[in-house]
Amino acid sequence: MNSSTAAEIEGAGARWGQALSWLIRNRQSLALPVMFLAALVIFSLGSERFLTADNLTNVGRQSVYLLIVSLGQFIVIVNGGLDLSVGSVVSLTSVVGSLVMAAVFAAFPDAPMLAIAAGFAMSVVIGTGAGVLNGLGVSFLRIPPFMMTLGMSSVLFGVTLFMSAGRPIYGMPPLLGEIFGFGRLGGFPVPVLAAIALVVIVYVVMEWTRFGRHIYAAGGNPRAAALSGVRTGRVTIAGFVLCGLLAAVSGFLLTARLGTGEANVGSSLPLESIAACVISGVALAGGQGRTFSVMIGTLLILLVQNGLNLMEVGAYAQTMATGAILIFAMAIARH
């Protein structure tokens, strides 16, 4: 009653005040859409090629690889961790997957699908293995996720360089690129469909299963979760395994797209995937964040990179832009 009389007295001016205070209160959830719109407007003005169906489809296609990695990063961050080894997992998958595919294809040139299946299986093994090691280190050895995955990142990257001897790897079946790199299913690019399927799976796991509840709860307060009977160690390991698996799938698709196994494909992914999550409002402290926002956050990063590309800003400046967006998003999240 108090408030309604107050509003009548102050009249229309109060409505603006209320709108303003609503904006201020919701600034954290508004930050992402506002940045998204701002990017669209700025780059449309900067280049007439930006706001075309062709270009936006292109952005969508390019964002697939980061998006899949970000989904894994999202799971780990919500659980209260951080995974800096995603880039090395992608690189290792690319190199070792390629080596396996090339070897099997050389041995059985008539069965390209066999080579592809072997490469994919290898990716799954690498992703799971890295995830298990990260998870064990964090949950049982109690190494902070930051250090564990940073160390892991270096170990895996060393293995990658050793296996590739610093050279790109060729000799995979052409079918790999035809299906998983450039293929279309019902008119949609296969990688995009794969990414959409993975977004839906991660959404369902996080929002509609007991495991998802446990990830959120253990991230929000690990002690409280443990006292409620949640086996937090297992949950952490499972989170890192999912993250490793998603990174491995991303590495596999990237290899298919590029047609070569490269040791350096993943180097920018740790920062970009963390940035995508933070921009999307995923709290680094754990326990908070939504699957679909991560998709928007990833698109925003790719949109900015694409826009800068079209405005003929060099690659170095784009790296600067990604870092600046991360810092800016963090500043908003903190205030």
Binding site: S3, W208, R210, R213, N221, A224, L227, S228, G287
Partner: protein, 513 residues
């Protein structure tokens, strides 16, 4: 008690001395809500002024404005000839106001001395820190205040009670004219509480004005001079500290409260929980609990009383597999068990509710819904891999009703709730699965009377349904009101047992030391 306090008031404070602080028409609005509604109060030197009211009544808002942590929407403060509101905590401190809040501002991995001098460290030669001067100053201050604190101890290794003493030392580095204490005894043991109240009497004698926020009614006549009761942001009345408890409750809640504690159920059944000669693994070379035996029957509420740190919480944790039992046996429903993880305990029908809701009990940034139903998905009616929104809502409506929690709050983050409501959420968690044996550690720590009453009602209902309840509490009146019998623990051993008919506060307290 009464005469002593009158003596202290009479001697050093000349009559008619002006108030240290006047508060006039203080109002605070948050959007549509009014947290404080035209409150006017005077705080006199040498007077302990108790603020009393339920959570959300406006006490915290009032003291945060006085401490400079919050700005009023309307109204002003008057100190000496200055009128207005503080722009910062620093301004408030410059006027001689110090506040000790429930959340401490201590650096956990630094020593007591370093924390006490923090912000104005004594310097030695070449402008470098003088550690010896800091320790001397800290030691002097601790001695002046009559505390028992090691200046070299790290904050993280101290109990909450000791941490509070450090916080008070910080406040007294420059003696304040007005000291604000926000529920200082909420997390203190009986012994530390008594020491604190004794200390307050000395401050009062020195002419310090004290604002004292508490939920513990028995402290009011022991320490207070005046009580101001707040309800829904309004000042209801300012009365003498010797006002009857019933009257205070009536003022606070606006309703008559015939009795606080429900009577415990009469006949009790078979043994639900039995500890026999339980000894716990030593920690830092000190054995926590030795040869403790206690049994709790179905429908029975057994209390464990004792000082903070006497081992009673550790014993409660051991029932849940949180501490290693090195000797003796644990039986649940007449079956000898070894519990290694909380999950095993819950599977066998034993629930433990921790004392620290923020650190151990609740995921504060998750919703009430997710917090309450968390273990129901592994152990309760929602068991299974997939979320079950419909059955979950049904279960939650039921549990919220039982603990008298507003069902409209189910989707709010737990951290946004008041302390009392958070405690209700913690209690509701224990009701979401089939449990026959409950171990509650401090189930009403730091919550208002309204929430206390809800929780007491729930405890009585559980006992009436035949649950065996082990109740660990530092709140002796609460234990005396709720339990069938009570054991006192001192230095890791049970030293006495009292039946309900023989309860006598002084005799029980004697066993604490």
């Amino acid at each position: 008690m009464q005469t002593a306090s009158q003596d202290l008031r009479a001697a050093p404070v000349p009559g008619g001395q002006p108030p240290v602080l006047r508060v006039r028409d203080l109002t605070k609005r948050y959007d549509k809500n009014i947290a404080l509604d035209h409150v006017s109060l005077d705080f006199l030197p040498g007077e302990v002024h108790v603020l009393f009211g339920e959570n959300g009544a406006g006490k915290s808002t009032l003291i945060s404005i006085v401490a400079g942590a919050n700005a009023p929407s309307d109204g002003y403060l008057e100190i000496g000839d200055k009128k207005g509101a503080f722009q910062s905590v620093g301004e408030s401190q410059a006027c001689g106001i110090r506040a000790v809040f429930q959340e401490f501002s201590l650096i956990p991995y630094r020593t007591v001395a370093e924390n006490i001098v923090l912000g104005a460290e004594p310097l030695g030669r070449f402008g470098l820190l003088s550690k010896s001067a800091a320790r001397d100053e800290a030691r002097q201050l601790i001695a002046d205040l009559g505390f028992n604190l090691d200046v070299d101890a790290r904050i993280a290794s101290l109990t909450r009670g000791k941490q509070q003493m450090v916080e008070i030392c910080k406040a007294f580095r420059r003696p304040p004219r007005l000291l604000i204490l926000d529920e200082p005894t909420a997390s203190l043991s009986e012994q530390d509480s008594l020491a604190l109240l004794e200390l307050l009497r000395r401050f009062r004698a020195n002419g310090t004005a004290v604002i004292y926020v508490t939920h513990r009614m028995h402290e009011i006549p022991a320490i207070g001079d005046k009580v101001s009761v707040l309800r829904d942001g309004q000042l209801i009345a300012t009365v003498g500290a010797d006002t009857e408890e019933d009257e205070l409750i009536r003022l606070m809640t606006g309703r008559q409260m015939s009795k606080i504690y429900p009577k415990p159920r009469d006949p009790v059944g078979d043994v639900g929980l039995a500890l026999e000669n339980v000894t716990l693994a030593a920690e830092r070379g000190v054995t926590q609990v030795r040869n403790a035996s206690v049994s709790v029957r179905a429908g029975e509420i057994v209390g464990i009383a004792g000082l903070v740190g006497c081992g009673k919480s550790e014993l409660a944790q051991a029932c849940f597999g949180l501490r290693k039992i090195t000797g003796g046996t644990l039986r649940i429903k007449d079956e000898e068990v070894r519990i290694a993880t909380p999950g095993q305990a819950i599977d066998r029908g034993l629930w433990y509710s921790p004392s620290d809701r923020r650190q151990e009990g609740l995921a504060l940034n998750r919703s009430v819904r997710e917090n309450i139903s968390l273990s129901s998905y592994s152990f309760g009616p929602l068991k299974g891999w997939w979320n079950k929104p419909a059955r979950e809502s049904q279960l939650l409506a039921d549990l919220a009703g039982q603990v008298e929690l507003d069902p409209g709050r189910l989707n709010h983050a737990v951290g946004d709730l008041s302390g009392g409501n958070q405690q209700k959420v913690l209690f509701a968690k224990s009701l979401g699965q089939e449990i026959d044996v409950f171990v509650f550690d401090e189930p009403t720590v730091g919550v208002d009377i309204g929430a206390c009453l809800s929780i007491y009602k729930c405890l009585a209902a559980l006992s009436a349904k035949g649950a065996a309840i082990l109740l660990v509490s530092s709140n002796l009146p609460e234990l005396m009101g709720l339990t069938h019998r009570m054991l006192v623990m001192s230095e890791g051993r049970f030293v006495a047992e009292f039946q309900r008919d023989d309860y006598d506060e002084h005799r029980i307290l004697e066993q604490f030391f």
